[in-house]
Symmetry: C2
Subunit: 286 residues, 2 copies
């Protein structure tokens, strides 16, 4: 199997590790905007070497794991160069703009739009983890737009990675992912900002921070190069979630300011239901 | 050593486990508003039996690990019953109101005001963990109000638990802890609320939630009985942090709405500094 990974960072690199584990003889080539990342990926053994444009035509699998704005720009061109039997997948956190970018493309049936719900707050090839996708959900959009034989090969690959498949349309994906992923990143970034601003002259104060703060602020370590384009593409949905979040915080603030402690208690008790909700997705924890 | 633990939940129970490990012969007795918690604590071996009020006079150590509103109510009465050599510590998340409640008390010098920065989102004796305090910070307030010999015994105990000591005045503690702990809990509770409200008819959607959502929403599992009184007591500081957080979220929203993506990127990049800040406190992670 010949694999080209475009963007050899956390996601592309982790996929390379799992493909190598599943198929030791696979030839894995990489492309990356950063030559130092490419070199590091080679040193780490994630890739066998650099992919040239001509490799796209002979590849069995092309993984496009670059920021979502660059997927929209580059996917049509990539798709134009692949072979008739090449499977092309992406891993972008928005699916609507990406599906639109290749709608009606002559090679549309070679592409499968994917969003593996897996990752960490770290970036680059050194962040790649073997087994990252094991037990995780992979959301596939517009499956009917992909050739059946190519779908089958994708499912075989995802089976090797241990992923659970969910099918969804791009609009529903982008609306719901704004709530369960994009909003979390903004809440975390702004929490980090609020605390850093306040405590900038008192570094010792972070000694008072425990695992609770660390947990809520973890996503504020995420890459702006990855996340700014996600928020931009999914602007409408993200603004909606942000409005509701700010409204809920403001209501909580009012309850506290006006000493309505029973209502405050009830708000929290209602939200404790998140325990049962998260228990329902044990496989999706990491 | 005779120990009385008032409130045998996550914190009191974890302390019982560590005291037992450090001193197998210790007699550990418990009091709890919940008779089922008391029974469970006995079954788990956290305590040897129920403490009677008379045990306070002969105890070497009394740990008051109950919600902060009840500490303020009950600490003066507890202190009135302990022996001349008894060390009394608390573990409340606010220190100002607790120190005020016992200011000028005839037994004030038997009390050491503490806030161990340790815990999980779980509650009750079954949540008690051996080693919970190991490597964690313990903030001590108004140390000069505690008799020197009693301080020494407290430090010996905290040494056995593996804690690192920080001294701070109660006002500074309450102001800073609002940023690095109380605000995190509100951001998490309201994130949970926003997502549950939106997705209440679509339970499958939580299948789309990954480790990022889980991390930011973890604290929304916390006990309202513990947290409502904390927010109430620290109302002034908590309102200030909430105002700044809501303001930062609103500014972020405006940047997104008005397509100021460079500024959005910079906001996030600035906040990435949290990586270095959190790296500075490796021992305080759990």
């Amino acid at each position: 199997m010949k694999v080209v990974i475009i963007g050899i960072g956390l996601i592309g690199g982790s996929m390379a590790r799992d493909i190598r584990r599943a198929e030791a003889a696979a030839e894995i080539l990489g492309m990356d905007a950063s030559s130092s990342h490419l070199e590091m990926a080679r040193e780490l053994g994630l890739i066998d070497g650099e992919a040239k444009p001509a490799d796209l035509a002979s590849a069995d699998l092309v993984v496009v794991s670059i920021p979502v704005d660059r997927i929209v720009e580059e996917l049509p061109g990539i798709l134009g160069q692949v072979g008739d039997q090449t499977l092309v997948i992406d891993a972008g956190s928005n699916k609507g703009p990406i599906c639109q970018a290749v709608a009606g493309h002559p090679k549309r049936r070679n592409f499968l739009a994917c969003h593996p719900i897996a990752g960490t707050e770290f970036t680059g090839p050194a962040a790649a983890l073997e087994g990252l996708f094991d037990g995780k959900v992979n959301i596939i959009c517009e499956v009917e737009q992909t050739a059946f034989a190519i779908q089958e090969r994708a499912l075989e690959l995802f089976g090797k990675l241990g992923m659970r498949i969910r099918y969804m349309n791009p609009e529903a994906h982008d609306r719901h992912i704004a709530y369960v992923s994009h909003l979390s990143h903004i809440s975390s970034f702004m929490l980090g900002k609020t605390v850093i601003e306040k405590e900038k002259n008192e570094r010792d104060i972070f000694d008072m921070a425990g695992s609770g703060f660390e947990s809520t602020v973890r996503l504020a370590k995420s890459s702006p190069a990855m996340w700014a384009p996600i928020f931009r593409q999914n602007k409408k949905n993200v603004l909606e979630t942000l409005d509701e979040y700010i409204e809920n915080l403001s209501q909580f603030r009012t309850l506290l300011e006006t000493d309505q402690y029973e209502a405050l208690f009830e708000e929290m008790e209602q939200t404790n239901r998140i325990k049962e909700i998260l228990k329902g997705i044990p496989l999706n924890k990491s």
